[in-house]
């Protein structure tokens, strides 16, 4: 089992001090190498859930177990290190650093893992996403599709066991959407990486064998 969520609860405080429940999930799991789409509407807690899985946001209660490690029990530095080594992240807005070239953005992904920087793998990953000829270009000089490819290569740089994708195609046109989806899924399959993609698009979700509706297992979402 690659990912197991159990009894996850997360609330935020409203301005009047009242708790606003965002997540209330009994159980959710993802097998090793499995790919799933998590369908949810805007404000439904999708991004918060990904942040909880990535160890960026600490849940109020419950456990997040990835490859046998309950990351909620790790201290912050441990969670950071775990995230760097085991989790890849692809964002809706690509989130590349504008001062860094494509290659440097991928190498940056390796910098915080504590492992030796593997330039060769970075080259290979950029070649895998079709950017072997754009290694030294900065994001500002690339198309949105190319930027998302760089983000995919960066997410896979540390050989993660889990890739979290937060609406990775939301900013792309239809042609790029298809290409990027295929690229993410293919790369995960090739690298034996579990994939959890959150989306509000039925079209995108429809390309996955396993599709979960967040509202079905997020009791907080249902209450909202």
């Amino acid at each position: 089992m690659s990912l197991v969520l159990k009894d996850i609860r997360k609330s935020y405080r409203e301005p009047d001090g009242q708790p606003l429940p965002i997540l209330d999930i009994g159980q959710f799991s993802l097998n090793s190498g499995e790919q799933a789409a998590l369908l949810g509407h805007s404000g439904g807690g999708k991004t918060t859930l990904l942040n909880v899985i990535a160890g960026i946001t600490v849940p109020d209660s419950g456990s997040v177990t990835i490859d046998g490690t309950d990351i909620t029990r790790l201290h912050e530095v441990g969670r950071d290190r775990f995230r760097a080594q085991k989790i890849g992240f692809v964002f809706q807005t690509f989130n590349l650093l504008p001062a860094f070239t494509a290659l440097e953005n991928v190498l940056l992904g390796m910098s915080f893992s504590g492992k030796k920087i593997d330039r060769r793998r970075a080259d290979e990953l950029l070649a895998l996403v079709g950017l072997a000829h754009r290694l030294h270009h900065r994001p500002g000089r690339m198309s949105v599709g190319e930027q998302q490819r760089v983000a995919i290569a960066r997410a896979l740089a540390n050989r993660p066991s889990l890739l979290l994708a937060d609406e990775p195609t939301a900013n792309l046109d239809v042609k790029n959407e298809q290409t990027i989806l295929e690229l993410i899924r293919g790369a995960c399959e090739q690298n034996k990486v579990s994939l959890l993609m959150v989306t509000h698009s039925l079209d995108v979700a429809g390309r996955f064998t396993r599709v979960e509706k967040l509202a079905d297992f997020n009791r907080a979402g249902r209450a909202a």
Partner: protein
């Protein structure tokens, strides 16, 4: 990819703001360097090692003025004392060397002092451990109308051995003596006021019409001495500038010999006898009050006056310069702080991305501090170069206006402190932006 290269990328991304910040630091450091160099120059100029003499004896008046006249060749000369006083002094058992100085005249354009003295002056150490050196082809004073000139004077006028020059009486450029002096030697540069002095033979000085007292004045002076208790040394009256001016108008004495009564000296520089500095200091301590008690002359310990000068004048300048330097450092520091802190708002997302990629909080803090350190280091190195460049450009101007010699290549020891101080400053000013990065909310940063 390490912290420094990540920080450097960040600096490059904001190159305009970063360059301006580094430039502001560079300007601060440049000013600091200039302040340190000038402070060093002034301190060295008035350093207590600026003379090799134990006592300076001159007419009653300001002790400081006497020292400024004879050691630094600054300020107007005070009154004179009789030449016979000098001759008596020379015979005293406690005197090892007594060097007369006759001051008042200048080069024809009024820029450099003429000092009438004796050849023995050049045999002594002008500061402890340093003897006069001549540039090749020169010699010290031998003939009556010989002149030995300082390196700066030679450079200013382009004079070389064999050149002849006139002098201005009393520094009045409209009153040029007919008698010309010949350059026989050019002193090697010393970095001291000696470099801007022109030494001529004391006898030659009195061969020039107008320098000696009239016979009438000399007789009146001698009568005044006899009128009291017959003690020739204590009854010599001070001679006014008016009398000097009157003497100037008389016809030239031509080649007639001048009696000792008609001669005067502005100051006598004395080296005490003694087996070592302690004994010489003890003798100085004993003799000084005896001379001062008598009405003719005052004896000044130049070291005491120089120390006083250092504390009262140079000390205050130093404090002012130090305050300026501290202010410059603070302003530069605030500049870095403002620049980095302002950029933090734009960098929330950047920080959040790196945190999402697994960068610990401490790493983000370190990147920001490294950025401040890099900016400071770049600014500091540029500032050191600019500072010496500034001194290089301003040196000749300061020198021309104040007669203070400035060596642009001189490196003050305190400059070694600039870079470490800047790095500490960088860490201090990087702390708050660094803490902002440390505390950054990743989830919020990614969603903004």
């Amino acid at each position: 990819m390490n912290l420094v290269s990540i920080a450097w990328k960040s600096i490059r991304q904001r190159w305009l703001a970063s360059s301006l910040t580094a430039l502001s630091i560079a300007l601060g450091v440049a000013l600091m360097v200039a302040v340190l160099v000038i402070n060093g120059v002034v301190t060295r100029m008035f350093d207590q090692n600026a003379t090799g003499f134990d006592l300076i004896i001159g007419a009653k008046g300001s002790p400081m003025q006497l020292v400024l006249n004879t050691i630094y060749f600054l300020d107007r000369p005070i009154e004179n004392i009789p030449y016979k006083y000098y001759l008596d002094l020379k015979k005293k058992s406690w005197v090892a060397h007594a060097i007369p100085f006759a001051l008042g005249d200048t080069t024809a354009d009024g820029k450099y002092r003429i000092i009438g003295t004796i050849p023995e002056y050049f045999e002594l150490e002008f500061v402890p451990g340093r003897k006069f050196q001549l540039q090749p082809g020169g010699k010290f004073l031998e003939g009556t109308f010989d002149a030995v000139i300082g390196a700066r004077v030679a450079r200013a006028y382009g004079w070389k051995v064999g050149d002849k020059f006139p002098i201005a009486h009393g520094g009045d450029v409209r009153d040029i003596h007919d008698q010309k002096f010949t350059v026989v030697g050019i002193l090697a540069p010393t970095g001291l006021p000696i470099d801007r002095a022109v030494f001529i033979d004391y006898e030659g000085f009195y061969k020039i019409p107008g320098h000696e007292m009239t016979e009438q004045e000399a007789r009146a002076e001698a009568q005044a001495r006899r009128g009291a208790d017959g003690d020739a040394e204590i009854m010599v009256p001070a001679i006014s500038q008016g009398a000097e001016a009157a003497g100037k108008k008389r016809p030239a004495t031509g080649g007639e010999p001048i009696s000792d009564e008609q001669k005067r000296v502005t100051a006598v520089l004395v080296q005490m006898k003694g087996s070592g500095p302690a004994e010489q200091a003890a003798l100085t301590f004993l003799v000084k009050p005896l001379i001062n008690k008598a009405p003719v002359a005052q004896a000044v310990n130049p070291i005491e006056q120089i120390k006083k000068l250092l504390v009262d004048v140079v000390g205050n300048i130093r404090i002012m310069l130090l305050a300026m330097t501290i202010l410059i450092i603070i302003v530069s520091g605030v500049g870095i702080f403002v620049s980095i802190y302002n950029s933090m708002a734009d960098r929330k997302r950047e920080i959040a991305i790196m945190r999402a990629l697994g960068a610990p909080r401490l790493t983000m803090f370190s990147i920001i501090v490294a950025e401040a350190v890099l900016l400071c280091a770049a600014g500091g190195i540029l500032g050191l170069a600019l500072g010496h460049g500034l001194v290089f450009v301003a040196g000749p101007i300061v020198e021309a206006r104040s007669d203070i010699l400035i060596d642009p290549w001189f490196f003050e020891v305190q400059e070694l402190m600039i870079m470490p101080a800047l790095l500490i400053l960088a860490v201090v000013v990087g702390l708050v932006p660094g803490m902002t990065a440390y505390r950054a909310d990743v989830a919020r940063g990614l969603s903004d």
